[in-house]
Symmetry: C3
Subunit: 184 residues, 3 copies
């Protein structure tokens, strides 16, 4: 009888260990920085309204800069910008980015963003909500995905910005590397 | 002895299966789109300050529209709006909605919202933080619940908007269907 | 044989109970309001630009108040404010707070905040994204940590505000008690 009990205990102990490992692994997996459950790279094109480019403009300054420094401190820009799969402005957009940014630093061009990526194609339907700081000279420039809807129901993650082009006062382009770590 | 071991193995295997199922179900349940852990519908009343309706106004344009199109592109409105259980403006508010929205589209009246629902009654105390896009003509119009405090500690979820009424320039009403999927 | 089966069942039943408890505890722990996985208190210093204090100013009003009441309703302030470990303005900052707030109440000085805490020291590198309402006269004043990056990868939590000082129109200080409940 003792022998049987001993066998039982060994097996039960091993089964507990195995199950515990499964649980731990299952939890860690959701949150491995190297392994997003979904990832895609899109390009954001911002064409600022300058008073004459009505047809092309996709953003406009709600409020102009204050006099605090020479880096547009306090300038608030509302945008409805196209997102493309490659870096060409005229490529068919796969999503829109609707939201705003403002400049918030005296001595460089840091900006703060909050916006929604809107997908409405046969491939994807839904939205991804993002907020965070676009910090000049910091690597990587990471913002937070704070929620999602539709095909991106309840998602969370990280968006990494990379400045791709700045042309004059009216156009700039950002690469946005979107990494989702919670997918349902 | 072999027989006993075999019995043990069968039982342990079955117990592992059962436990694993429990774990999987427990996890799936938190994130079943059809089954929020809490749900309630409230009505949002926005009365825009027009310069003369001081007593009734609950919101005001911080910045007026830009000239980019005819849909108020760039207009930013700050609000402290009552939330009621039914659709009557004069019903006793069960919460306040404090935050802002702005219009962000050239060719239709899309808006972008970020705000806090504030509960301070015997029934509920705490806040729910929300952000996302109010997209005209898209169904459903879903925004993200990105956090909560007090009775809504650490909550996440979805808020679905439904336009209920627009009266002139100064009043509109939205139904907000609040579905929480993380409740602690 | 019946006896052996009975022993097996007892052990398996007990092991199931134990494992289930472990699972439940593991899950509850992540979300125990009393036990954040990380906690620290910082002090936020806001020096508003008044037109002459260029050297010291760390924030500026993008848009001035509307005429809706006497509590700055609609005034939007963009900031790049130092965060210190003690309450002295001139202590070396351990982080920056970049973002904005606006006043949103007719009859008191409630404000709504959205901002990013930026850490860039040997101790911590990364950002914490925060949004919520600063409600005068409500205790506690809790906002939501909605995401994080770098050393604060994917974090969520609560920030509790406490007003520490208001000096004239241009300076105020807040204690921010940052409690993180999801740490990866």
């Amino acid at each position: 009888m003792a022998r049987i009990l001993y066998d039982d205990l060994v097996f039960i102990f091993i089964s507990l260990l195995v199950l515990h490992s499964i649980c731990v692994i299952a939890h860690s997996r959701e949150i491995n920085e190297k392994k997003p459950c979904k990832r895609f790279v899109l390009h954001y094109h911002d064409i600022l309204f300058n008073g004459t480019n009505f047809a092309n403009a996709t953003s406009a300054a709600s409020m102009n800069k204050t006099n605090l420094g020479n880096f547009n401190f306090g300038k608030i820009v509302v945008f409805d910008d196209p997102m493309t799969k490659d870096s060409h402005l005229l490529s068919p957009p796969v999503a829109r980015a609707q939201g705003f940014y403002f400049y918030d630093t005296k001595t460089k061009g840091n900006a703060w963003f909050a916006y929604t990526l809107i997908f409405n194609s046969t491939e994807d339907k839904g939205t991804i909500n993002i907020m965070g700081a676009d910090l000049i000279g910091q690597e990587p420039i990471d913002l937070s995905v704070v929620g999602g809807t539709g095909d991106f129901f309840m998602t969370r993650g990280i968006v990494t910005f990379r400045a791709e082009a700045i042309e004059g006062f009216d156009y700039f382009r950002l690469e946005m590397d979107i990494k989702l770590y919670e997918c349902y």
